[in-house]
């Protein structure tokens, strides 16, 4: 009888640990899709942004078309996650440069539409940062769970592998220089 109870309790604990492990793995997938959603939101801002900027400025056409090109590549669908991340990094850099350059165009700077787009852009930037931090936290949780006892026993059986956290792209760490961007 006593042995039965112990087996029962152990079984319940095992179920809990198994479920929590699977839950953590799903959380990682979920967190990754949150980044995707935020990125899509950001990519969707680009056509409007480019339109407004075009109305007020007549040079940097090359930069603008580069941005549009990158954007269409990003939303085309048949690219890998890492490619998407790298396109996003390039786009962020270009747009940051654009925002700096706007200082030279008082009319554009005062345009309500542009001001709205600018704040939505900043908003989306912080939302992406938040989504990436969420992803990293989910990965850390998952990695801890599969490496620590007793999770490592299940992970071995289920062949759960540790995942890699996202690091900031080299381009994002650098301070963006508008001069470099538009002269390239």
């Amino acid at each position: 009888m006593f042995a039965l109870i112990i087996i029962g309790v152990l079984l319940v604990i095992a179920i809990f640990f198994y479920n929590s492990l699977v839950g953590k793995k799903n959380q990682v997938t979920n967190a990754f899709s949150a980044i995707d959603v935020m990125l899509k939101k950001r990519f969707d801002l680009i056509p409007n942004l480019v339109e407004v900027v075009k109305q007020y400025t007549n040079y940097e056409q090359a930069t603008l078309s580069k941005i549009v090109e990158l954007r269409s590549k990003a939303v085309s669908g048949n690219i890998s996650d890492s490619e998407k991340a790298s396109i996003d990094a390039q786009l962020s850099g270009s747009i940051k440069g654009l925002m700096v350059n706007v200082e030279n165009y008082p009319d554009l700077k005062a345009n309500t539409n542009f001001i709205n787009l600018q704040s939505t852009w900043t908003e989306s930037e912080e939302q992406i940062a938040a989504a990436r931090r969420t992803y990293n936290s989910a990965v850390t949780d998952y990695n801890n769970a599969i490496m620590m006892f007793p999770g490592n026993m299940f992970a071995g059986i289920l062949n759960f592998q540790p995942m890699v956290v996202l690091t900031t792209a080299e381009e994002e760490r650098k301070n963006v220089s508008a001069k470099d961007l538009f002269n390239s």
């Binding site: 809990f16 912080e126 936290s137």
Partner: protein, 315 residues
């Protein structure tokens, strides 16, 4: 604050006369009550209970009447102190600031912050201060919320009151859009165990425990939220540092709640602020120091947390 402020000095000089009158009358009332008690005791000791009781009672009643008669004036004096003195101090800091002594943060709003798990059996709130600092509207009020426990003893039911929260609750319009609820509570053994349980085994709550990267922050607060990404959108690395800084100013750990596009901060404080002294003079130059310090502190929160930066699509 008082030095060089003519408006404040005039008001204080006027109120000081009221205060002296009230203090003298109250002293008289208490004296007669004390005298009455002394007479009764002395009468019993000396074997003259009946005359002593009559004389003592008369003195007690007289003392009580004196105190009762001055009570309206006392109330008016305390109210005038809040409106005129504290009001002038507030205006000298920022024209938009006002105080309403009989208003506060309603119990409904207090419970809506979701900062405290217990429902209040007794709830008092007063001294609502409101205004704007830059682009951001804010208000704060004193709150004392308690719950009761009843223990059955030989002599009947013994009711005890326990604090849920005593201190100042601060509320301001938050500078980012969000839909869910994010709660920051002081970390203690109980909350740590609860968080571990809900994270690793099973959770009854609709909120997740949020693990944040800032270790000092995670040591001070337990964070729960209905949305993992939104919680991090609010609690950026810079914001976490700012909240930690804010927390350094108070002895007990503060609690924060982000809900209905507002930020609520609960500061546990034992003192009752903005109260007029009766037996101490109003001409003391340090009179308002504590009150002004708390007002300035609340006003500075907006700047400290950078709530006036409105670049995230919320105006």
């Amino acid at each position: 604050m008082i030095e060089g402020n003519i408006e404040l000095q005039t008001v204080l000089a006027k109120l000081e006369l009221n205060r002296q009158k009230i203090a003298a009358t109250q002293k008289k009332g208490y004296l007669f009550i004390a005298l009455g008690i002394a007479v009764v005791i002395a009468g019993f000791v000396m074997g003259l209970p009946v005359p002593a009781a009559v004389a003592g009672l008369a003195s007690l009643i007289y003392g009580g009447v004196v105190l009762y008669k001055i009570s309206d004036e006392l109330k008016a004096y305390k109210e005038a102190f809040k409106i005129e003195v504290i009001g002038a101090a507030l205006r000298s800091l920022d024209k938009s600031l006002t105080i309403e002594p009989y208003k506060g943060i309603l119990e409904y709003e207090f419970e809506n912050t979701q900062l405290f798990n217990q429902t209040a059996d007794r709830y008092n709130t007063e001294d609502l201060v409101s205004g704007t600092a830059g682009a951001t509207g804010f208000y704060f009020a004193e709150i004392h919320a308690e719950y009761k426990t009843e223990v059955q003893t030989k002599n009947g039911t013994n009711t005890e009151w326990h604090d849920i929260f005593k201190g100042i609750m601060f509320a301001a319009d938050f500078n980012k859009n969000f839909k869910g609820v994010t709660i920051l509570q002081p970390k203690d053994l109980f909350s740590t165990m609860g968080a571990w349980f809900s994270k690793n085994l099973f959770s009854f709550s609709n909120k997740d425990v949020i693990s944040l990267e800032n270790t000092a922050f995670s040591k001070t607060f337990i964070t729960h939220s209905t949305n993992q990404v939104e919680a991090r959108y609010i609690l950026t690395p810079a914001m976490m540092e700012r909240i930690l800084n804010l927390n350094h100013y108070t002895k007990s750990t503060i609690s924060l709640s982000f809900i209905n596009s507002k930020i609520y901060i609960a500061f546990p404080l034992s003192r009752n602020y903005f109260e007029a002294p009766v037996f101490k003079t109003l001409s003391n130059p340090d009179l308002l120091n504590d009150d002004v310090a708390v007002i300035k502190f609340m006003y500075e929160i907006i700047r400290e947390l950078d709530l006036n930066t409105r670049i995230w699509g919320k105006t």
